[in-house]
Subunit: 465 residues, 4 copies
């Protein structure tokens, strides 16, 4: 399905479970992170001696079955769901990625993107090393395999300084799980206590909630957390950046609404985004409808402060998502529409305010507007809970290139005309930050073009797919 959303690269999870069901817990936890990556999934487990793994292309429920999950015995596990941004989408780049090193076996699962990966890759190749994957994970593993230090924590401290970019990592050794977050804090990573005395880390607190965790907190920017039979240990790998650069889009779109990001309920922030959107636009209309599912909380918030009634205007076809068969052009022209149906009773003769979370390439809003007009809407006003996305992300979010971004190619008025709505409104960066309730500490580079550090955009490609 083509969607016009930014794509998150990955979800990661790590488990230390005294009762030995680590792989099983990782499996269920990964379901709660499936929205962060649906192209590949994998789990690696350690039993104190040996690391075993299984990974494959597809959804978690497609990759794993009782037959391949059962042999993954051990009390330590890491897992990964992948959406491919850098690195092509083959099985080769599925994670966790596992190597043998002079210090023993080491597996990695990574969410983020190393902005200076091309340079680091080139340095590793120059050292006479062969890299078996095109993803950043291989670079990180090779750096660690050759790092100085008596412990993995020390080795991490040695190499983290060279990694410029976003990385929320979980590492697995024979007898421990390590969780690491870059000093800018780009991507989320949370830690919780399992009810039975173990620990779990996951890209989102929502996954920890699914596992029944309590005492959930963020892994701090730059922090290294170690989980093993001795319990929980923490040290700082690098000092946190000043200021931090949390990804604003986790609030706007990526994270589950039941997750906590920067100690804030994502659902709550989204409602606030809807409130701010009305404050800025003062839009008038007869009904507020969300584009489901992500814009639902914002529509509730918009309705609450505007006193314009909130209702459903679109019904999402939940089963169309995984088909690999696409309608022919003929069928499409005839009006076969797979993703949404409109609800004429709620739209007819109404001035409709549609809340959506973002416009990236701008190719799906037009058909939605048309659907509303066919259903009898008198006016269609499209209000977006973030500013125009005018710059690519180099931190692991697939926004597209400059050429693909509609906000780079068109003015807002041109965009409105392209989409065919009566008016088009974006929330300002200031409005977004007011909704979050923070003054700084967020990366808004995709809106502003101001990156947290200098980006070298020249990439060297690997020679294989």
């Amino acid at each position: 399905m083509t969607t016009d959303k930014p794509h998150e690269e990955c979800g990661v999870i790590g488990i230390f479970a005294p009762a030995e069901e680590a792989a099983s817990m990782a499996y269920f936890g990964l379901h709660a992170l499936q929205h962060r990556g649906q192209e590949a999934a994998g789990i690696a487990v350690a039993d104190g001696r040996i690391i075993r793994d299984h990974k494959g292309l597809g959804l978690v429920s497609q990759v794993f079955n009782q037959g391949n999950l059962s042999p993954l015995t051990g009390h330590l596990a890491i897992g990964h769901t992948r959406y491919s941004t850098s690195g092509s989408s083959s099985l080769r780049n599925a994670q966790p990625f596992l190597v043998d090193t002079q210090f023993g076996p080491l597996a990695i699962a990574h969410n983020g993107n190393i902005a200076n990966a091309a340079q680091l890759r080139s340095e590793i190749l120059q050292r006479g090393i062969g890299l078996p994957t095109s993803s950043d994970s291989g670079i990180m593993l090779m750096a660690l395999a050759g790092a100085r230090g008596d412990t993995w924590e020390e080795r991490l401290q040695t190499v983290m300084g060279a990694w410029q970019g976003a990385y929320s990592l979980v590492l697995l050794t024979q007898d421990k799980v390590l969780a690491v977050r870059d000093p800018w804090g780009f991507r989320p990573l949370s830690l919780g206590h399992l009810p039975n005395g173990g620990f779990a880390v996951a890209s989102e607190s929502g996954a920890l909630q699914t596992l029944g965790c309590h005492h959930i907190r963020e892994i701090a920017p730059g922090e290294i957390v170690t989980l093993d039979a001795h319990g929980l240990k923490s040290c700082q790998g690098l000092k946190p950046a000043q200021p931090l650069a949390r990804c604003t889009f986790e609030h706007i779109y990526f994270s589950r609404p039941d997750s906590v990001w920067d100690e804030l309920s994502v659902h709550h922030v989204r409602q606030r985004l809807g409130e701010e959107l009305w404050q800025e636009t003062q839009l008038k209309g007869d009904v507020v409808i969300p584009v489901p599912d992500s814009a639902i909380p914002a529509a509730i918030g918009f309705s609450r402060v505007s006193h314009i009634p909130h209702n459903d205007g679109f019904i999402k076809n939940r089963y169309i998502g995984r088909t690999f068969i696409q309608p022919t052009d003929t069928l499409r022209r005839q009006g076969v529409k797979l993703k949404f149906n409109a609800l004429p009773d709620n739209l007819r003769d109404k001035r409709v305010i549609v809340i959506d979370d973002s416009i990236v390439r701008g190719n799906t809003s037009g058909p939605l507007v048309k659907l509303l007009r066919q259903a009898g809407a008198l006016e269609v006003h499209l209000a977006i809970t973030c500013p125009p996305i005018a710059h690519p992300c180099y931190m692991g979010v697939d926004m597209g290139t400059y050429d693909e971004l509609i906000a780079h190619r068109m003015t807002i008025e041109q965009t409105r005309e392209h989409i065919g709505c009566d008016s088009l409104h974006y929330l300002s960066v200031e409005g977004v930050m007011r909704a979050i309730g923070r003054k700084e500490g967020y990366c808004n580079a995709c809106f502003t073009g101001v990156y947290p550090f200098k980006i070298n955009t020249q990439h060297t490609k690997t020679g294989f797919e």
Copy 2:
């Protein structure tokens, strides 16, 4: 996944498409009917000469791929998604079901349940016929294969009188699609014009909307509609029953909210159910939350008339549905919960009114209430948009047996205690009918025990699985 919902038996679709993409249209249309049956799917096509088919166990997207869809060439198609109520869930009972007859090949796809099937089955066996399936479809096909009449319409008229129960059928012959509905009108079946000059019938108008249909109307109770190269033809197979007996649960739970049932928007009726629920209960609280997804419109309606703010309280894990691996008891006890997470920020210290559409066996409401309390809810009041379900359905809905129905075994107060909520409320039958806006014409037997005709509950089982 165990859920405590009534289960619909099937979805059916039929296509006459001059441009020969009938199978492809059936395929996309079945996605929009996937919620009506997820155990098996199938499509049969005719090209004027030969009928070909493919069917299998699983979701539409799992059963079909380009390789098995492409050979299904022809301008006529019928399709089916199956949830098994009668007949066991093997491939043998997947539909469409296809036989050769003295009048040529005939395929059938059926939604409903023939209440006197056991007797009809026995009569067919006594005629010396072997029945290759345990489902009603075989009975109907054998009746038609031996019926008097010069046309399929005449043969249908001959045999329909003997079929007591619910049947929304599509039939496929070498050169036409026939759509038939029982005279009580138990289950829905709608007809629409395809943009390119063809026609489509489907269990729900939402599927017709997905295919781009216009001029959508219901197939009338007792009506036989024929689609072929000569266009559309209609005749009455049996006179409509007086009164009709439409299934109330299509409004309450089964149908897509974007479908129309009895010329009423299902989404609108659900909002009205929420409104009537407040009118009857006059409940007080701080927030109204739905159990997603089906209770969302009712919660909006409840909030609108009660002026109690509506918000999300649960987040549904959309990816857990299709896993065949279940958590061990150990993991379950530790708190692994796969289906819903609660949103503490929206619940903490609040008197929470939870809107749900039905309670059947009563085994899933308790855990939901517990989840809300753990998230800090002060009080939990559970309000259901229909009356207690105290009687089984014999018309194709899997409500469970008398012994399984909690409303048959317990009083409302006992049920409340079992679930652990502070109060428990059901909408009255009268409230339901007020919400729909009709005085009669609906089957409410699962609430009242008053069936549209006498039910003989003694079944003869088939000797195979």
Copy 3:
């Protein structure tokens, strides 16, 4: 893989095993019958009460796994491997085929072909019955479902008279297995005692040997054998035909060499065919080579009486058989040859006598001859262990139509030229019968055109695939 061999339609097996591992025994036995049909496989089991089944397209090892074999519990089983002659090759026609009847459930597995099926089919359709399969099995089941008689044996006796053609059947009811053979004895069916007190029937004694059976005997032409908890019972369904019409090709090609057919070792008969072939041809040469695997015993026999040394001349690529990817024409023209390599050391500068069992369409012998010449053979003499096949088979062997049979279209000299060998020799019908050691009792219609009864070659096709 294209081969130029007649194709056998099916293998059947039936088990009564007191220790309840009937499905498992059927599974292993079907492997020994895999050569008789590789398109579909299936097993049905009964436990005294219920019949369960599983079937699918592909080899036995592909259709079954522990997951679908384990639920097939019971002490009675029948199984089938299918090659499609009549009926198209879809899952619909996979066997065992199972129906519910007035007398209880009944499953069938069939090897053979009913020559008057079209007429029987038409009669059944006229009775107002829908036939769900295009194979003969449905016809037989419907006949039995409506037959007079108090027992299945009586019902068989009632209907067998109408079945003109080849049928080696196994039937499964709730509590017994029945094995039936047509009165002509066209196709084999043997019975053996299992070591643990049970019984097994199978298309070939080789499969019974695999299961460890002893006291193996043929089911007699026209005999009905019943296996159940009361042991073994036999009655005659029809009197044996005079003379019998055993298929000569079971000796020549179909049966495993370790099977016994007409109380004769097939391996031994094949050696004798080689001996007779030399007696008739008195061929001279330097080496005798077989086309592997089926002609190996004949080459041994030919060598023994001719005193011409026997050696391997071709090596068969055993792994190419199941690939669905075929070489492009370009690759083929370049010389990619998948099935056989020649052994130049054994062929160079030699007059080579090649023994093969049959020529049907005549399209694969030419490339073999060319291979031998490229490997340095001085002369290539092709000797066939049967007469020219000039007439189709209506008893379940896919020989092809008259137009396809090279012996119908060409003289022997034209065929020799087409193939490109130095001389071409066929064994005479008399030579074949001498090798077998019988004067009569065999069907040689494919050589002589003299069928055991009048054949009506007009077929009515079913209207589905």
Copy 4:
């Protein structure tokens, strides 16, 4: 299926095909090498710019389909079939193995075993490199990725000196295929001209014959052959060892009979082994039978010089090989035998001489002898076409450990008693060399314990599976 044979580790193939069907040719060629490894298969292709690959667990026909073969476009390809000796049997160790290096992408497919791999592995880990596979291939690739030299040929020359053991390699870069053989010449590797102007290399000449190659020759021990758009180039990587150490077992068992090894027809050598076996044993009997398929040529040779008639005594069940379901002990005890049936007619009341190629663990000969006796054999004399295997192989053949080898644990008389035959005979080393017709140049270490160089048997294990 358990068999008592030594296991070959791998088959490799390399293609330079001007017409761009390189992957397709590799695919068909791998079928002809399937006997050398059935656990995994893979193909990598290059188009002058990029390398693409696909690999998986299972047979070549299971791993590849049109869908994953079609995207492998390019005129250069390498392929691999794997049986795991060193390295566990997971997908991680499937080949070709592919890395990016400072010199561009490089893929490898390897047959053989590096005897000093543990030491080399340890050196690489100490260099701070992470090794993603436990097989030798990763070691070789990392050595090459860090090697000095301006061309891959020079880099190979730099590193080959450190590799002590067996390696027949094919390497793939962006624009060439390289084929390399160790200086001892342990494992075969042949080169042929494709009819269309390209070249192919393969583990066995039989695979080249399948592809239609002519002018076939061995890659010389120590030779590096380069295939690319400029044609064929050869240089010496290392001087050939004095003496060479070709694997005797390629003649005895591994190679296809239609392959050439050391310029000798394998089929011819096997016949000669049979002849020498009779010369040494002067055995008397009534019939000579082979254990199929590998001992067939030896039985022919034995018969030819002994004038004892040769015949089939066992029929192999060709379809049982790939089932993953094994008979229960109960079934086994009852006599279910899956692999061979005996032919009583050829054995009854006869003194039977059975020819087999080797005894490794000694667990399958006993049941075969028993089968012959049950079929009526008067005496059973077992004659083996090689000496007792008393020492493990460190060059890539899985013979088992000292403890597993029956010839290490028992005398010949004890072995005979264990097997239950009347007499047991092994061909002497001298007899084997006479049959081959060479005085030296072969490795007979598994018989003699004399290895071509000192073996360090202490292994370091990797920490993952």
